[in-house]
């Protein structure tokens, strides 16, 4: 019983010791952490590429050797370069690459001196690809709609080029495009004229609409007044016609008497204070002026 316990303890202790030793890459156990991968060499020959977890080896010093590589997605910002687009515009393009060591053994054979060389190579390849692909498109395509496709194309191309280096590429992305210094001024000039044109257009259109509103208002006002005038004339006409009819009906029933009474009424109006009337005593009114008998003569005159 005690022996068994001791044995277990011993085994556990040895195990822990081995694991601890693996931290310094000593002993038969190789521990690969997440985010890294290791190559185990024997006599300078890459034998095994590890994945996260533990791997056994012989553990002989000098003969065996372990190299550690990053397994994470790595970030690389390539140098800004000036590229001519299909339509002859110069563009300053800055891009970045997300890449990873996919096959460390292959990677090691292509870049024996380490990842620094790899970075330079990737930088060169990516920049060539970008120049190549961007050069086949116009400035407009690069800047707007087709940017996504262009980047996908570059990524695909770069991935193909780098796969033989044991490298996987997740993304090549243009993060910055600039017009080269000096051309800015011409862009500004164009922007300015464009804005001036827009401003003029806005003002002119505003005036157009304003004048239309005024003109329509004027028209409406005129029509309103004219319609009223029409109605007014119609009403006046009705008034005149109806009154004429009323008069005609009334006076028509006694034309003789109308003539008399209307004439007399007219006298009242026509003969005023400033009138001098030369009258004959023969008139009806003065019939009795010369006496009650003298009326026959006057009557005949009337």
């Amino acid at each position: 019983m005690r022996r068994l316990l001791l044995l277990l303890l011993l085994l556990g202790g040895v195990g822990v010791a081995l694991v601890a030793a693996a931290q310094w890459e000593v002993g038969p156990l190789v521990i690969t952490r997440e985010g890294e991968q290791k190559i185990i060499f024997r006599f300078n020959e890459a034998r095994v590429a590890t994945r996260p977890g533990w791997t056994l080896r012989l553990g002989l010093p000098v003969i065996e050797r372990v190299e550690r590589y990053d397994a994470r997605w790595l970030y690389l910002n390539t140098e800004t370069q000036s590229i001519q687009t299909k339509d002859g515009e110069q563009l300053q393009i800055d891009n970045y690459v997300i890449w990873r060591i996919e096959d460390p053994k292959q990677f090691r054979t292509r870049f024996p001196s380490g990842p620094r060389d790899a970075g330079e190579r990737i930088d060169r390849i990516v920049r060539d690809d970008v120049r190549e692909v961007v050069g086949r498109h116009t400035l407009g395509e690069v800047l707007e709609g087709r940017r996504k496709e262009i980047m996908a194309e570059i990524t695909e191309r770069t991935r193909g080029m780098l796969s033989e280096f044991g490298i996987d590429v997740a993304d090549v992305r243009i993060n910055r495009t600039e017009l080269p210094a000096g051309t800015e001024d011409s862009v500004y000039a164009r922007m300015k004229t464009e804005r001036e044109r827009l401003a003029k257009k806005n003002r002119a259109e505003g005036e157009e609409r304003a004048r239309r509103i005024r003109a329509e208002a004027d028209r409406e006002a005129r029509v309103i007044v004219a319609n009223a005038d029409r109605d007014a004339e119609i009403a006046r006409g009705e008034g005149d016609a109806q009154s004429a009819q009323i008069y005609a009906e009334a006076y028509g029933s006694a034309p003789e008497f109308y003539s008399l009474s209307r004439t007399l009424e007219a006298y009242r109006k026509a003969i005023s204070q400033n009138t001098t009337l030369v009258l004959s005593p023969d008139t009806e009114f003065f019939r009795y002026l010369r006496g009650v008998e003298g009326d026959a003569k006057a009557k005949s005159r009337k």
Binding site: L143, R211, G239, E284, F285
Partner: protein, 329 residues
Amino acid sequence: MAGDAENVAAEEQVQRSVARTLKNGLLFLIVVVLLSAWAYLGFYTLQPGQAAILLRLGRHAGTVSEEGLHFSWPPPIVAREIVNVSEVRSEDFGFRGRESEDTARDELLEATMQTSDNNIVRVPFSVQYAIKNAFAARFRVAEPNAVVRDAAQAAMREAVGRMTVDGVLRERREALVSEVRLLLQDVLDSYDSGIEIQAVQLGDVQVPAPVRAAFDDVVAATQDASRLMNEAEGYRNEILPSARADATERREAALGYRDAKIARATGEAMRFAAIAAEHRKAPEVTEKRLYLETMEAVLPSIDKVIIEPGAANLLPFLPLGRERGSAER
């Protein structure tokens, strides 16, 4: 002496067994102390917002994110990485606030972008992000901050490149923000970065200083245009009611005229009819009466000359030219 020897032997035996027991006890004690000391290393506490990534012999064996005391196999069996996950990080692009002489050229460039209509705008912005997957953020991507920085710029440029300058400056700012956020999140997810974009904020979006006046003028022009239209509307609102009032006046006046005319005609007709009725009853007398009444009314106020019919030759001597008014019968 033999007894002595036996005693010594027994004593030695006792001593040896005591020593062995002591030794065993000591060993046990050491083992226990060592084991518990090692086990003690397996305890760890997590503060709020922290997560522990556990690597058992290098492999990912789980992520613990509840705060409090936890236990795992102690190192080196299980290695722990404690990561702060609740912290919101921020990346700023371009200057915050207004552009000035001492704004570094690099900062300017960071925010300088081209729109689909080939205008240059300065779009300073910031991105807030946090870790949504501690394991991925720690072990899948080498430089998450740099990746966020460049990917954010790429996303913003892509989104701005699809918009017109007016869209970026005014109309579609909200759309721009949400589009950048989606684009950026997509890109970051495609690298399995474990990063979550929480917010994208636009700063003071402007056109470059040399063309700002021209842009402002367009805004002013729009305002001018709407001012003109407002004035025109005002004119319309003024002129139409007055026209309607005019129209009503004219209509009413005409109606008044009509009704008055008819009323008057009716009245006069009635009056005439009444008199005519009387006249019919006694024509002679009525005619005479009317005549005399008229004369009575007319004659008193006027100058009258009564001349015999044979005395017409007297006419030249009358002062007829004295006044304009003259009448004859």
